[in-house]
Symmetry: C2
Subunit: 395 residues, 2 copies
């Protein structure tokens, strides 16, 4: 059955763009140097499709810590974290995260996706309802489906609908509200303050995925819950180290009881290898930098966001409702978005094309990822090139 | 709802062993040096719970390649692999894997689990049947569940039962047989030759997870399919780089059509960060070593396996049906297994305690992982200490 036909309109779209020579996807990156990358044999492409919001993946001290970890441990641990794969570096990251959040404990995962799978499969079962914002990360929906719970979904940030679902779910053992803190394709925030009021009214748990907000948002840079002063009212915080932390892997910060359940029963923890020493070592150093220098980095990030977003908006470019370092340049048509992204690379600027199914059909966009390390000249270059391409492909 | 009770007998067991001071789980590892680790402040613990079967996580050339990758790229890529996260190192690993297997293409994942999720959710849907060996890795069951396919399970390696399931599934669009190549807790092989005959008879696809066999088994070290000379008859090969390759992450090797579907539609690929540069750099060097020096490493591994298994079996220790570097020291009782593993650590030898639910209730065991780099003296030390502990805790 090797010549089986896989019917996939999405794969067909990708193959079509590739054949036409306009696909911006799957570029090969030859090297990184600050905000410039070598991409498909083109040197010096300016990176504006990044999730490395604080520039820490390029920080010399983070690189040196990662190299030290390899010299101390080699290139991998010897087994699952529960058995023999948890080093002092992993322990250090977990202790640091728990202390920062003033929570009982933290747990590291190989990815943010595996963290979400663990949380949902551990907290929810067929007797429960998992209530999702429609724009939550897909790994949350995957975890909810694996849990066997009833899945209810509300339109993006629609608190009236959330309350209606809560009030019709009081017969369930648990109601678990899950929301991204900062939405990855739109750049707007969840109304966490309102969600918490509703959760208390209807005796629901709250899980917040701070993948794109950790390091960037809130007075201490811990994310949306920190921004709302609500860390103590959130039951579970999920995060990743692959964005602002400049390393890879995911984490969960929570109370002792949930922590114990996750680390002893969640297959995406117990049956998957943890971070390599290099990854944990980089994360530990990056967390120290975020704690001590984070405010300065976030201030620079905010200035860059303000500069670019006001520059683009003054030219009539639609950035939807973003209030963060994620700037969605709304285009609409998938085909136009692909062509704009491709031409931008030819002009030496990379932005991430987001098309269906990562965003709803007809809401395709460029996802501009601003970082703390972009210089004013680099911000200008983005704006200039984007306006240039818009003349060719109006949007 | 923060003080919610999570009912979990498994978590209770872990907490109980911890409170009693006999838990061998969650040790903190302070450093690695060859086959010795610093564990819970105890120096020089001999590692026999490892999946680093060829010793490559401790290979100087692999470490140097990983360090070079950090110097070239920093500690992470800038985004998803489809967008800007695929470097020349990732490309190199994929090309190497595809060439070794003589298949169209390979694709890297952040973990073996994410690779299995991608394969199952891309190949299977509600119109299909996924047919699993009961002892397959849990990520295969998770992927099958997410796919919405009908899931059928046969007793371990029971080919009569597999044929019965196939013959009663002919009304389905696809029949997808999934099996571990080498079973992770038992160390025995799947009868891939028989599975392939049945797959051809009933027009079924074959997916083999070579997590524990890649690098270790077959004339070219590619795993169970290589061992059976059946690489061309297997539709999809899944593997990990966290065992014999000495790095982390997973991979899929397959034909162009499935490869396109995976990289454009599978959420565990498209919506999860790929390997860090350090991880990809280590893997690339390790694959070169496996290609050029693998035969010598596998020969040494085989000698160590033969030495230890005959030594233990001659003392009446039950190693079940293993025929590989995974030696299950069958004990039965969960409590005895925990105590034996704990006392072995006190004697300076680490083995991995496998208890329910990772193995069936009452079939608890120590999982001894032999590597190519264990010396004869280290093999003797394992045997001696195990026999010593058996006097104290008979099994």
């Amino acid at each position: 059955m090797t010549d089986i036909l896989l019917e996939s309109p999405i794969a067909d779209d990708f193959a079509g763009w590739q054949a036409e020579g306009v696909s911006p996807f799957f570029p090969t990156v030859g090297s990184h140097a600050g905000n410039r990358v070598r991409m498909n044999s083109r040197d010096g492409v300016l990176m504006f499709g990044s999730c490395d919001y604080l520039g820490l993946s390029q920080h010399p001290a983070v690189a040196e810590a990662s190299i030290r970890a390899i010299r101390q441990f080699g290139t991998n641990t010897y087994g699952a974290q529960a058995l023999c794969g948890r080093t002092v570096l992993h322990e250090g990251v977990e202790e640091h995260l728990a202390r920062l959040h003033a929570k009982d404990a933290a747990l590291l995962f190989p990815s943010g996706m595996s963290a979400n799978l663990a949380v949902l499969t551990s907290l929810a079962g067929p007797e429960d309802t998992v209530i999702n914002d429609r724009l939550n990360h897909i790994s949350i929906f995957m975890g909810a489906r694996l849990s066997g719970a009833k899945i209810r979904t509300y339109q993006h940030n629609d608190m009236r609908r959330l309350e209606a679902i809560l009030s019709s779910s009081t017969d369930k053992r648990r109601r678990i509200i899950v929301t991204d803190g900062l939405f990855s394709a739109d750049g707007d925030l969840a109304p966490l303050d309102e969600i918490i009021v509703l959760a208390q009214r209807y005796d629901a748990m709250v899980v917040v995925d701070e993948a794109h907000s950790f390091g960037c948002l809130g007075p201490r840079g811990l994310g949306a819950a920190d921004h709302h002063g609500a860390l103590d009212k959130v039951d579970v915080i999920v995060g990743t180290m692959s964005k602002a932390v400049g390393s890879t892997g995911g984490f969960v910060v929570t109370n002792n009881q949930i922590h114990l359940a996750l680390r002893t029963t969640a297959p995406s923890y117990t049956s998957s290898r943890g971070a390599s020493p290099a990854v944990a070592g980089a994360a530990l150093k990056a967390l120290e930098i975020i704690e001590h220098d984070g405010l300065a980095l976030r201030t620079r990030l905010g200035e860059n966001v303000e500069y670019i977003s006001s520059g683009l908006r003054s030219e009539g470019i639609d950035l939807a409702n973003t209030s963060s370092q994620i700037l969605p340049v709304m285009i609409g048509s998938e085909d136009t978005t692909i062509r704009v992204a491709h031409r931008l690379i030819e002009y030496g600027v990379f932005t991430a094309a987001f098309t269906f199914p990562n965003v709803p059909k007809g809401q395709a966009r460029l996802r501009v990822g601003v970082t703390a390390t972009h210089t004013p000249a680099e911000c200008d270059e983005l704006i200039d090139k984007l306006l240039l391409v818009r003349k060719e492909y109006p949007f």
